[in-house]
């Protein structure tokens, strides 16, 4: 559905250079530290910025040439941008009705009410959680086959986050052929939703893996200095020095479970992936 082919974008000293693919019917996550280039990728897919090199295509069309009808098929929730804060929900509904031919007003009204979004309240009086829910509901309200979500749960409490994730899960179960691209800092969001993960660091993709593979095959090894010397490092992706010795990150958990039964082996988590792949040696 979305293909990014050698996208290059330069911002002063920062250079983004990535290739990736979001196939039909998959949920893809992009993770990485602040400033890694996640939002730049999202903006390139949405045609908000022009690539310096490379191509970004959605359903075979360059994103810079997407028509209004093409854009109507993409649901977008951006982390720091939405409807004007002086509008209320009635204004939003009126605009969406005219903008999107497939706008499902019943769905939108029903879900806004269920999420406690007051219809007469100005958006400037909404809480952070209400803004986030509204952004996601707007993206879900017009039966899009592609959803682009930039940090949809950033800055929210657990309850609000879960409610947003539940909305996305419900949408996925109702629209099985829908694709989602999601960026997040919160590993549990990615673990519970995404089929595959791209880890981006300093403008480059340092890892692309299925979420299930990360959770089953990746592991943290905790070893003292002596054990570290004896350790077969063929499958060690990254190592970090700690007070007690070394923390090693591997994508072959079973190899170390079988051959080094005495060392501490912990299941890999997305947080470990980010920390070890972008901070270790």
């Amino acid at each position: 559905m979305v293909i990014i082919d050698n996208l290059v974008k330069n911002y002063g000293g920062f250079r983004l250079n990535v290739s990736m693919e979001i196939p039909n019917g998959t949920v893809t996550g992009i993770i990485g530290k602040n400033g890694a280039g996640k939002t730049t990728i999202i903006k390139a897919i949405l045609g908000l910025i022009r690539p310096d090199e490379g191509h970004v295509t959605t359903n075979g069309k360059e994103t810079s040439g997407l028509s209004s009808a093409d854009k109507a098929g993409i649901g977008v929730a951006l982390s720091d941008s939405g409807f004007n804060r002086f509008f209320d929900l009635k204004d939003v509904i009126c605009i969406l009705r005219k903008m999107y031919p497939t706008f499902d007003e019943d769905f939108f009204r029903k879900n806004c009410a269920a999420q406690g979004l007051a219809i007469d309240k100005k958006l400037k009086d909404y809480s952070t959680g209400m803004h986030a829910k509204l952004r996601v509901l707007v993206a879900l309200s017009h039966k899009s086959k592609l959803l682009i979500m930039d940090e949809p749960t950033a800055g929210l409490d657990v309850e609000a986050r879960n409610e947003i994730l539940d909305m996305l899960r419900q949408y996925l179960s109702d629209n099985e052929d829908c694709s989602i691209l999601l960026t997040s800092h919160i590993s549990s969001d990615i673990e519970s939703l995404c089929d595959d993960i791209y880890l981006i660091h300093e403008g480059k993709i340092v890892l692309h893996e299925d979420t299930d593979t990360v959770l089953s095959d990746y592991a943290i090894l905790k070893v003292n200095e002596d054990d570290y010397e004896k350790l077969d490092k063929s499958y060690i992706l990254s190592t970090k020095k700690e007070n007690f010795g070394y923390v090693c990150f591997t994508n072959e958990k079973q190899f170390y479970v079988d051959n080094y039964p005495d060392i501490v082996i912990e299941n890999g988590k997305i947080d470990d992936l980010i920390l070890m792949m972008t901070g270790g040696k």
Binding site: K43, L48, K71, D80, S81, N84, D91, C94, I95, K98
Partner: protein, 216 residues
């Protein structure tokens, strides 16, 4: 396009109180001043409010989300000019109604037939305001475009002042006045309208170019 027009109309309606005050001021001016000044005043205020919707679009990174909606950058620019034109037409109509009321109150209804049609020329003349401000706001953003607008209109005012001073000191006005008076009023209106359209078209092309290059 329709969605954008609805959006801008909704933005305008968020300033209901300001619109009401403007109408009250217009009414007071209309009943106390001679001539169709009120039409120009209301039309100019409407154009300023219409151009001001760009500031609301830009607010809180609003462009980022808006440009993901089903519209192209060209459509956005077109809509801005169309919204300004529609605002000017509606405001002109409101101004004309208020002027009619004021003339009738002052029992000067016979002047209506002369003053109201000729005041239509105010629309292309005043459209120079959005023609200057729209590309500036798209290029520079709300804050910097405001300063640029002051500089440009200050420069225009300076030119007019200097020109007037030079003309006052020369005998040129006396020489060209008969020639100017010989033009039929319709030709003058057509010429001014054509000039306004040309300025608006050049401004539109500049705005499209700015918007196409813009990154969000």
């Amino acid at each position: 396009m329709l969605g954008l027009l609805v959006k801008d109309l909704r933005i305008a309606l968020t300033r209901k109180f300001a619109l009401l005050i403007i109408l009250v001021i217009a009414l007071i001016m209309g009943t106390s001043m001679e001539g169709p000044f009120i039409i120009g005043y209301v039309t100019m205020i409407a154009l300023m409010l219409a151009v001001g919707t760009i500031i609301y679009d830009e607010m809180d990174n609003g462009y980022d989300f808006m440009m993901t909606m089903p519209l192209t950058r060209k459509t956005y620019v077109r809509e801005k000019y169309l919204f300004c034109l529609l605002s000017a037409l509606v405001a002109w109509l409101v101004g004309a109604i208020l002027t009619c009321a004021a003339y009738i109150i002052r029992q000067n209804a016979s002047a209506l037939l002369e003053d109201i049609p000729i005041s239509l020329v105010l629309i292309p003349v005043l459209f120079i305001l959005p023609a200057v401000m729209i590309p500036l706001q798209l290029k520079l953003g709300a804050e910097r475009s405001r300063i640029a607008t002051y500089i440009i209109f200050g420069f225009i005012a300076g030119l007019i002042f200097m020109g007037k001073k030079l003309l006052d000191e020369s005998d040129l006005p006396a020489k060209i006045e008969p020639a100017l008076n010989s033009f039929p009023p319709v030709a003058v209106v057509v010429a001014i309208t054509a000039f306004g359209l040309l300025v608006a078209f050049i401004s539109y092309l500049c705005s499209v170019r700015i918007m196409m290059k813009k990154e969000f």
